[in-house]
Subunit: 197 residues, 2 copies
Amino acid sequence: MATRNSYTLAMPTPDRTSLPDIVAAGRHILEADGLGAVTMAAVAARVGVRPPSLYKRVRDRDDLIRLVAESAVAEMGVELAAAEQDSGDPRARLGDLIGALRTYARTHPAVYRLVFTPVTEGVELPRDLLEANSAPLFAVVAELAGPDHALEAARTVTAWATGFVAMELNGAFRLGGELDAAFEYGIDRLARAIADD
Amino acid sequence: MATRNSYTLAMPTPDRTSLPDIVAAGRHILEADGLGAVTMAAVAARVGVRPPSLYKRVRDRDDLIRLVAESAVAEMGVELAAAEQDSGDPRARLGDLIGALRTYARTHPAVYRLVFTPVTEGVELPRDLLEANSAPLFAVVAELAGPDHALEAARTVTAWATGFVAMELNGAFRLGGELDAAFEYGIDRLARAIADD
DNA sequence: ACCTGAACACCGTTCAAGT
DNA sequence: ACCTGAACACCGTTCAAGT
């Protein structure tokens, strides 16, 4: 019965790739060879298509990079949420959360960098995604600092955590010494600093 | 007496630019239009030369960018040292120092970013330059934390400061509220946190 | 409706040829 | 000894032509 339906639905060329495939390819190349290696040609080759075909699914390279960053943020959110499952006292949970962030940065350095340093001026990550990611930390900090100073305390802790991880990632701690000890020292002092009052 | 001397010294083409000029041009374009705008063509045009001529003074674009970063680090060091002149108690000097870093980031965002985020994997800034820049902060922190915990304390403060400035620069503080207040709160808690023991 | 080759503008870089 | 035009490889992107 090759009638109207099978005729109008017949696709002259079947889809040879998909947006998720393209984003996954970008992710893979980013982690393997860095942001500079994420070219339209490299991504196209990885999904088995020619570069112009990518423009059917993404507006341009910036758009693709943004989608990669979004997928990474979502993944990080899952890992942060998982880290908090092992609940204990607030101080311990704070260490677990920031430790999970640090672990993610070490295991996915290029992806972490992409998320935490704005690659292109105009490109923004969706606000609700970022809020979802920072929610667990915000909650623990509120427990430690009390509701009055929750916002400032969260900012202080977040600034320290992202600063520490960035410096570790960039090899900016040049004076030797135990980095794990510096991390524990920092967490400890921060937790006390925002709690005391 | 157009003799041997004037003959051997005669330069077939006089220098039309210089390394300092090239670095300054790169700096200017970086601050005005961002890192992506610092192309060999743009820099060459600004110093009045054709792109291939730049390769007489710099190895390649990465080399040029590195020189721009170095000149920026040197300039930042001067401003940090100047901020510390207005000496008061250690707590106040700590605020002045980090405040100067923050001011520099706000007035030279692209340059600040270049210095604090490694643009290319292999490129390193000279160690003594970075040490000179962190020396004032290290000294103040040592006063506050005592010699035993000076290193860990300095790392904690530096991580917080660079993290805070980076987040402010990237618009990562999305929940409103007074940023200056958050800054003061952070400095205050940090100073107490590393002092207490 | 997606895919492709051809083409374009732009970029970093090299090199032989000028002076 | 520095400067230049010409050339090359590579990149992002567009578009008409295929199916």
